[in-house]
């Protein structure tokens, strides 16, 4: 029997993925573990490996397709085996066959209608009573799709009876009811085929429903302008930014630091680290070090706002904003409070390199306690950033400029740099942020203080 190739669910909140590139073509033979395609999740590029050895029989998804997780995107198996021409209902993993004990033919017959969310307990088995199972078998309903009303989501007979194979939003169901539209005949465009308001409304007017990409094409045709659909990483960034702005009460404080001593420090260490570790120390590394020390002194700036209260983190995990053509990414360097400068250089080099190559894992994009955004390399003098939730502050670092400054009553050329702390006033007051910045400035102006 042919094996389904599916769009994997690579993270808790991953709902859809983009097919970037197929690394194989129909007819190719692959071994278990061979990369067969590259996908883009909401944050990273990753390779999907073959789950079994065999021949690629069918490729169903085109490069660039944005598909819900668990969608069947191809088939592999024995050479010459026949496979369906279209993706079947989104039935998820193979385990289901074992649970359902259902012949394949039936499953393939009920194609086109993607199945809704699943309610599966740990271990991948559905928690259902024997009677509910019996009824589900009779009615040919996938128990995974039925929401259980019993303890721990146990599916009872009443749940199976109440289950309608069509999933629709409450509003869509209401409109369908009022307009007397049969939901069975509406194709859903929402998550896993859920029927939305628009799907139902399109049925009320003579205009036929158009899919996401067709919609885009239609809009472009009318306006004559190129439309970039809001999907993938762009969509995630858009959502997270607005969410952060709505959540946090932000205040921004700017300070100027004299970087002359830090520049000297960096150049004195540069060759040594290059020789010993083959790594290049950057100003960002010095910033991470100084910020970490400052966060340890002012831990409220390193705190996390939770529903229960302000959570004081017991380690410093620095998120680094990395700008890519595809969009912004914030990989995290964990435990910088326990690192030497060399450790920081090594960790920063590692995560940034992998991020730019698209090889960072979703787990490495989570868990930061504070974020640094450095746009100095683009000559930006000073700027503010949006807090990377659930952090309570973010530091925006500008470029280092040579400027005339008064030193001991004399005008001198000094290297100065602007830093702006954008902080969540819910977590701390302006004074706390100002003290943090002042201490950070002290450390950068007199880096030997970091030895204390």
């Amino acid at each position: 029997m042919a094996t389904e190739i599916i769009m994997p669910k690579a993270g808790m909140d991953m709902v859809e993925g983009t097919v970037i590139k197929w690394l194989v073509k129909e007819g190719d033979k692959v071994e278990t573990g061979d990369p067969i395609l590259e996908i883009l999740t909401d944050k990273v590029n990753m390779e999907v490996e073959a789950e079994t050895s065999g021949t690629i029989l069918k490729i169903l998804a085109d490069e660039g397709d944005v598909l819900p997780v668990l969608t069947v995107i191809g088939y592999m198996g024995e050479e010459g085996e026949s496979v369906p021409d279209a993706a079947p209902a989104q039935t998820g993993s193979k385990k289901e066959d074992e649970v359902q004990d259902e012949p394949v033919e039936t499953k393939e017959l009920k194609t086109e209608k993607p199945e809704p969310e699943t309610y599966v307990s740990e271990g991948g088995k559905v928690r259902a009573t024997p009677a509910a199972r019996f009824l589900a078998r009779e009615k040919n309903i996938d128990l995974k799709a039925v929401k259980g009303s019993g303890p721990k989501g146990r599916v009872h007979v009443a749940d199976v009876e109440a289950y309608k194979s069509v999933k629709a939003t409450p509003l869509a169901a209401k409109i369908a009811d009022v307009e007397n539209i049969d939901l069975e005949k509406v194709s859903g465009t929402g998550y896993q085929g859920k029927i939305t308001k628009d799907d139902v409304l399109s049925k009320t007017s003579p205009v036929e429903t158009v899919g996401k990409s067709e919609k885009t094409a239609a809009t472009e045709k009318v306006s004559g302008k190129k439309l970039i659909p809001l999907v993938g990483i762009r969509k995630i960034i858009a959502e997270r930014m607005i969410e952060s702005q709505q959540k946090a009460a932000t205040v921004s404080l700017t300070i100027e630091a004299d970087m002359t001593a830090s520049i000297e420090l960096r150049s004195s260490l540069k060759d040594r680290i290059l020789k010993e570790k083959e790594l290049k120390i950057t100003y960002t590394d010095l910033m991470i070090m100084a910020v970490t020390k400052s966060l340890q002194k002012y831990p409220l700036v390193n705190a996390t706002m939770t529903d229960e209260g302000i959570l004081m983190n017991d380690s410093v995990n620095i998120g680094l904003a990395v700008g890519l053509d595809s969009g912004l990414m914030v990989p995290v360097i964990n435990g910088t409070d326990k690192m030497t400068l060399t450790d920081i250089v090594a960790s920063r080099t590692d995560v940034v390199t992998r991020t730019t190559k698209g090889k960072i894992t979703p787990a490495e994009l989570q868990g930061s306690t504070f974020t640094i955004s450095n746009l100095g390399m683009f000559d930006t003098v000073s700027f503010t950033s949006i807090i990377n939730q659930p952090n309570s502050a973010i530091l925006s670092v500008g470029t280092i400029l040579e400027r005339m400054r008064v030193v001991d009553g004399e005008p001198k050329v000094r290297s100065v740099m602007n830093m702006t702390l954008t902080m969540d006033h819910r977590v701390m007051d302006g004074v706390e942020g100002a003290k943090f910045l002042q201490y950070l400035k002290d450390l950068l102006e007199e880096p030997t203080l970091m030895l204390l």
């Binding site: 024997p130 019996f134 009443a158």
Partner: protein, 330 residues
């Protein structure tokens, strides 16, 4: 059918007397059953009617009572023996378990042991830990014994007569709290309730409760209360605890999809576990829409203190709670 109102203990007395009138081989032995009329007054008047030859007071030795009954039964009589309290069966066990229960089997069917052992059982009398236990599960575990529990006066009469006429040792549990209960009893002296038949006490569609003894009435009260919330419960009294008519129970559970066993006996090792396991092994399994639940006595000796005594056995409230829970209404 002609009926007469009488108490549970009068119904027991009537059943024994009718059988003794009918068959001269039926005799009655036990402690203080003659002159005194029995510890609970069950056998009042029987000595006068049947004489000392057939209504015999025994020494205070339960081993003697079961030994004499087993021997008399094996040699041609149909003895009815009374334990003053079912708790005392512990010292009568060898004669009951190793002799009475085994003879028919070990003699290849050539011997029969038509004895009936009456066992006043259960709590609620404030008689403390050694006089209030419910030990029916012990006896159900011994192949060769039949075990009966009668829950009303009419059933007491009909089942006891069937027990006396049975050619095997029958352990007949009578709940002490029921002795004073009144009810209509058929006067017909051929009124027999066959052993091995469960009785559907109340029909229902949502839940099957298997229960017996005094606790049955608490179940009925709870069932009536939840009916107001639209929960329809079927109540089954197995009447014969061994060999139990499981078919009636299984059919009921197939209909309702939920099963609960309620008994006064301690939960661990109690009949509830046996019935629950029987249900899940049966074809009712596919129809189960909730785990089979046991509502039973706590695993503790029955306390002397009346409040505590009440607290260790299932109450109406506890049964109601269990019903709402199994119905997902909580």
């Amino acid at each position: 059918m002609e009926m007469k109102e009488m108490t549970y203990k009068e119904a027991i007395n009537l059943a024994m007397s009718e059988e003794m009138r009918k068959d001269k081989n039926v005799i009655f032995i036990g402690e203080d059953i003659g002159l005194y009329g029995g510890a609970f007054g069950v056998s009042v008047g029987m000595l006068d009617e049947f004489g000392e030859e057939r209504v015999r007071d025994t020494p205070i030795s339960e081993a003697v009572i079961t030994g004499a009954a087993a021997g008399a039964a094996a040699t041609g009589l149909r003895p009815i023996a009374e334990m003053m309290f079912s708790d005392f069966i512990t010292i009568a066990m060898d004669n009951l378990v190793n002799q009475a229960a085994k003879m028919r089997y070990m003699f290849g069917g050539k011997a029969k042991v038509p004895m009936t052992l009456r066992l006043p059982t259960g709590s609620g009398t404030g008689a403390a830990a050694q006089h209030t236990q419910s030990l029916e599960a012990w006896l159900c575990h011994v192949p060769g014994l039949k075990v009966v529990s009668a829950s009303s006066p009419a059933e007491a009469k009909g089942l006891l007569k069937a027990a006396i006429r049975d050619d095997n040792p029958v352990c007949f549990f009578e709940h002490k709290i029921l002795y004073k209960m009144k009810g209509e009893v058929p006067v017909d002296d051929e009124y027999i309730l066959p052993l091995g038949q469960s009785y559907v006490r109340k029909e229902g569609t949502d839940l099957t409760i298997v229960t017996y003894g005094t606790i049955l009435y608490r179940v009925m009260e709870a069932v009536e209360a939840v009916e107001k919330d639209g929960i329809s419960v079927e109540v089954i009294d197995p009447r014969t605890l061994y060999p139990m008519d499981t078919e009636t129970i299984v059919e009921s559970v197939k209909k309702t999809g939920r099963a609960m066993v309620v008994h006064e006996a301690a939960k661990t090792g109690g009949l509830g576990g046996e019935i629950a396991a029987m249900i899940s092994e049966s074809e009712a399994f596919d129809f189960l829409d909730a785990p089979v639940v046991r509502v039973a006595g706590l695993d503790t000796p029955i306390p002397y203190n009346r409040n505590l005594e009440e607290a260790v056995v299932p109450s109406v409230e506890m049964i109601k709670d269990a019903i709402y829970k199994i119905m997902n209404r909580k």
